[in-house]
């Protein structure tokens, strides 16, 4: 009994550590002016979100988060940073009224959403399935959501071709 209590409190502690990583990584991704710190913060934040998915009961989504976001998108952004050398380019200082307006807008949004989330009495659905397996996800992807699945693949194809064409044409024009 005390063993399970220990495991429970350990899981609690790890959960709050993960939340700290997520929020700290997000702050690191937004506030510093050096873009390399931003991308490091983004990687920390997305890995923390993957751990939160694990807490929410979906191992598959946690793996996908690590693969797609950390493995693909962050590495693509790192490549873009390497190709565009933005570190050596000077950026003018932020102006104070703009900064205040941005902080005001973001904090108003956060307070409103947090108040709604806290005040609402959420009611679960009357009948809830307990089917979290990858098999069900695969079946649904190929039956009920087949059209969306195909459209997503089409969008990805168009995005790949568009990315190649955009960078290729601009290189030909500038050289």
């Amino acid at each position: 009994m005390s063993g399970s209590l220990l495991v429970d409190s350990l899981a609690h502690a790890v959960f709050w550590v993960v939340v700290g990583i997520v929020i700290g990584g997000a702050a690191l991704a937004v506030f510093p002016r050096n873009i390399v710190y931003n991308i490091l913060g983004l990687i920390a934040c997305l890995s923390g979100v993957a751990a939160l998915f694990l807490y929410l009961g979906s191992f598959f989504l946690a793996l996908m988060q690590l693969l797609i976001y950390v493995g693909a998108i962050c590495i693509a952004i790192v490549f873009a940073i390497m190709l565009s050398r933005p570190l050596h380019l000077e950026v003018p200082k932020r102006r104070m009224p703009k900064l205040a307006a941005g902080i005001g807008a973001a904090s108003i949004f956060f307070v409103a959403i947090a108040a709604v989330a806290w005040k609402t009495a959420w009611k679960p659905a009357a009948e809830r399935g307990a089917d979290w397996t990858i098999t069900t996800i695969g079946h649904l992807l190929l039956t009920r959501y087949a059209l969306v699945f195909e459209v997503i693949s089409l969008v990805l194809l168009v995005a790949i071709i568009g990315a190649i064409v955009t960078t290729g044409f601009s290189r030909r024009l500038s050289s």
């Binding site: 997000a26 934040c45 952004i77 380019l89 973001a106």
Partner: protein, 102 residues
Amino acid sequence: MNSLSVYLIIAAALFSLGLFGVLMRRNLIGMLISIELMLNGANLNFMAFNRFLAPEPAVGQIVALFVMGIAAAEAAIGLSLILALFRRLRSINIERAQRLRG
């Protein structure tokens, strides 16, 4: 720990940090990073509602997967546009791209 509100507030914090970044950064790659943060906040919301309220647990995971696919497409297009703009302007500061103003 196991309550819906905690997850919703974490997601709201992620989203508002991303909103602040989109409003404040002038580095185009910084803005792209902030957009990724906002998408992750939305994704976390989907998964939290899926875990605590939804009738079918598979549907929320499928929606989160679609969001990830769209985010990958958006990152590819955005980065290639940023690279094209950098080759033209030698800068990725958004305020230098005045020629795009209508």
